[in-house]
């Protein structure tokens, strides 16, 4: 992949955090989608940008949700861009997803190829950007010698980001997680589940990342074959959201509450308030950027 394939233009970058709502039919149901991303309270205080990115789009086999969290550390000084590139690449990869006859085919493609395409795509555009715009003295000046050495060994670290993605196909729902963040699923009874179990490698501020040399090995994938009713709501969030809660139960309750509100009060009401709720949560909790992407369907 060359620099010509860079999936971002300045227009698109500006649009990514704006949030959107839409309605589409796939996976045997009519799905609504909404997303929002807010700059963390601590980031505002410290003059840091929002280093998350999120997008939901109709594409390829149905719908794709992509959400990324730039590492934001001193070494990852281009991670705002890294997160946006991750989301853009995830949409590109989903747009190329072939039509496949069965859920088994989707499962195998998701497990075998999806992580590799995402990681290679992201790494290729990052490499192209580095070629076009090498690190400047101003970017490197604040870094400790050890951090500079790490960057010399792996320049992609400057763009370091996580990635969560969900693809809805007619026969299955595919979930992918690389790095920290949360994927929650709410069923018709309001029960909240995680499609991917907790990853013991994600302790404290440690996270797996798109910038690791063989990062596709770290991606975790789950394929849910659709038989009866699909989930009522799928929520993806950067770790700033869960970290704002005292415990996991409190965070999981949010997914269930959002579903009830969406069902009872409608998409427009929730969309209008979502960014405000996230700002409030960041201010009272983690102080981190918070981004969420939500796919939900009305009860049949």
């Amino acid at each position: 992949m060359s620099g010509d394939c860079d999936p971002l233009t300045s227009d698109r970058e500006a649009a990514i955090d704006a949030g959107a709502t839409a309605r589409t039919a796939t996976a045997g149901a009519h799905w609504h989608m909404l997303y929002a991303s807010v700059r963390g309270a601590a980031h505002r205080r410290n003059g840091l940008p929002n280093q998350d990115a999120v997008r939901i789009s109709r594409t390829g086999p149905g719908l794709v949700l992509a959400l990324a969290d730039g590492h934001g550390s001193a070494t990852s000084f281009r991670s705002q861009q890294g997160a946006r590139l991750a989301v853009a690449v995830a949409l590109q990869v989903a747009a190329r997803w072939p039509e496949l006859p069965t859920a088994s085919h989707h499962k195998r493609r998701a497990e075998d190829d999806w992580p590799k395409e995402l990681v290679r795509g992201w790494q290729a555009v990052v490499d192209a950007r580095l070629g076009r715009r090498p690190f400047t003295a101003a970017e490197l000046h604040p870094l400790e010698p050890s951090a500079r050495q790490r960057l010399e060994r792996n320049p992609r670290l400057a763009w370091g980001s996580t990635l969560l993605s969900v693809i809805l196909t007619p026969s299955s729902i595919l979930y992918l997680q690389l790095g920290d963040g949360d994927l929650l699923v709410v069923d018709d009874n309001g029960q909240v589940n995680r499609p991917l179990p907790a990853d013991p490698r994600l302790l404290g501020n440690e996270t797996t990342s798109l910038c690791a040399p063989e990062a596709w090995r770290e991606a975790r994938v789950y394929c849910q074959t659709l038989v009866a009713a699909p989930p009522a709501l799928i929520l993806a969030a950067t770790d700033g959201y869960a970290n704002a809660f005292r415990d996991d139960a409190g965070f999981r309750q949010v997914a269930s509450d959002l579903w009830v509100m969406l069902r009872d009060e409608g998409q427009a009401t929730v969309q209008a308030q979502l960014a405000g709720w996230l700002n409030e949560t960041s201010a009272q909790g983690s102080g981190d950027d918070i981004s969420v992407g939500i796919l939900w369907r009305e009860a049949t």
């Binding site: 394939c5 075998d112 040399p213 090995r217």
Partner: protein
């Protein structure tokens, strides 16, 4: 996340009602639950999605249950389960023990078995597929999604056996996992069978030993989208082994395929030759593929050639084709070989080219001392031990039921009764019965 059965509900089995306890996972064909029947240990129950619960699948299951498992290591269907109020059907099978991890975990380095465990896993796999094929069955869908291993012992568990069919009987059904399918199946020229299983087995073994696919080199690195035409070209119409000595179009790319580059040179020539043959002539000619018994023999030799670096302790493989002991792959220091036992047919056959290296923890099993005995890594017949009062003296202890006869440098014959040891002395001859060995050191 389960959709088919309700937790806590019961289904009838031959041994009484089984209770659905826990959802274990879902795939493309159905969902698997942990179930318990009366006071028996828990089992696993696979329940098919409605579109997969076909009459053909039901009949195939009944055949497999009637035939029984080909050998240990198969989590084989035990009983067909149906219930009047629950649509579809499923089957009971043994529950996979927690010690078994997916090969995917190996690929992602969530488990790091040592070379001995890896080699044993490869040997057990070859043995398992030999047993399956000997029953006239073929697996059709060998991949790392349905093979599990114990990273400590190298034991294996093979799942998803409901896709097994009688060789040549299947006009439709599952085609396999794209990366593991034989090229002629990818091209649509053949159906999965025993010969295509052999290709999949070779891919799986290459994955085990290199944590990489044998056909994924430069050609794969140039693919941006793994769509059907790209996959068909790579694995079907233009497959090229990444270490093909006569074709360098598809060499592994540094930075992308480092595992393959790092591992290839660690293994002895005879193993590399097996992979080369399997993925050059074996790509084009199904009859040229390495048979399960050939893999088993090669991997038994590989196991016998493991020894430890005296500097860093890393496991190294002795290469009989190399002129010297070589250097350690891990620390780069020169290696020194331990005592070696070179076995030969007792009736005057030539000594083996492949000695058994005698490390502090080496054990000899039935197949070492009698070529007609089965491969069995449970009951050792001999082990290296240290003299109880002189730690510099080492011996080989007779753990079997039969006495050995040793011949010293002075030509004197002596018996080594069960429970006794023969001291390790260069040139010592040990008569084990069907085979005799000479110590080198």
């Amino acid at each position: 996340m389960h959709q088919l059965l309700t937790l806590g509900s019961q289904l009838p089995t031959a041994a009484g009602p089984c209770t659905i306890e826990r959802f274990l996972g879902g795939g493309g064909q159905g969902e698997v639950y942990q179930v318990s029947v009366a006071s028996q240990p828990p089992s696993a129950l696979k329940w098919y999605f409605p579109q997969q619960a076909t009459a053909d699948q039901r009949q195939a299951l009944q055949t497999l249950i009637r035939k029984g498992p080909p050998g240990p290591g198969f989590l084989w269907p035990l009983e067909l389960i149906e219930a009047p109020q629950t649509p579809g059907f499923g089957y009971l099978m043994p529950l996979r023990e927690p010690r078994f991890h997916g090969i995917v975990d190996l690929m992602k380095r969530r488990i790091e078995p040592d070379f001995r465990a890896l080699t044993l896993a490869g040997l057990h796999l070859s043995q398992a597929f030999l047993a399956l094929h000997a029953k006239g069955l073929c697996y059709r869908d060998i991949s790392f999604g349905n093979v599990f291993l114990d990273p400590d012992s190298g034991a294996i568990a093979i799942c998803d056996n409901d896709n097994v069919t009688i060789d040549g009987s299947d006009p439709g059904g599952i085609l396999g996992t794209p990366r593991f399918i034989a090229p002629e199946v990818v091209r649509g020229e053949a159906r999965p069978g025993t010969q295509t299983d052999l290709f999949s087995l070779a891919v799986l073994l290459f994955y085990l030993f290199h944590i990489h696919h044998p056909l994924e080199g430069r050609q794969e690195a140039e693919i941006k989208c793994f769509d059907l035409p790209a996959m068909t070209r790579l694995y079907g119409t233009d497959p090229c082994f990444i270490f093909d000595p006569a074709d360098d179009r598809n060499r592994p790319v540094p930075g992308l395929h480092d595992n393959a580059i790092a591992h290839w040179g660690i293994y002895p020539e005879f193993l590399r030759e097996h992979f080369t043959r399997g993925f050059t002539s074996g790509l084009r000619d199904p009859q040229a593929r390495i048979r399960e018994s050939e893999w088993r023999l090669a991997l038994a030799r590989l196991l016998d050639g493991i020894h430890y670096c005296g500097q860093c302790g890393a496991e190294n493989f002795h290469d009989p084709a190399a002129g010297s002991a070589g250097t350690c792959w891990s620390c780069g220091q020169p290696l020194r070989l331990p005592w070696r036992l070179r076995l030969a047919d007792a009736l005057g056959g030539a000594p083996s080219r492949y000695p058994v290296l005698l490390n502090h923890d080496t054990r000899l099993y039935a197949h070492h001392l009698d070529p007609d005995r089965r491969y069995d890594f449970v009951t050792p017949l001999a082990e290296v031990n240290r003299h109880p009062s002189d730690p510099n003296r080492w011996g080989l202890k007779n753990l079997g039921p039969d006495k050995w006869v040793i011949t010293g440098a002075d030509g004197q014959l002596r018996d080594v009764e069960p429970g006794r040891s023969a001291g390790l002395v260069s040139g010592l001859r040990i008569d084990f019965g069907p085979l005799r060995g000479v110590l080198e050191g």
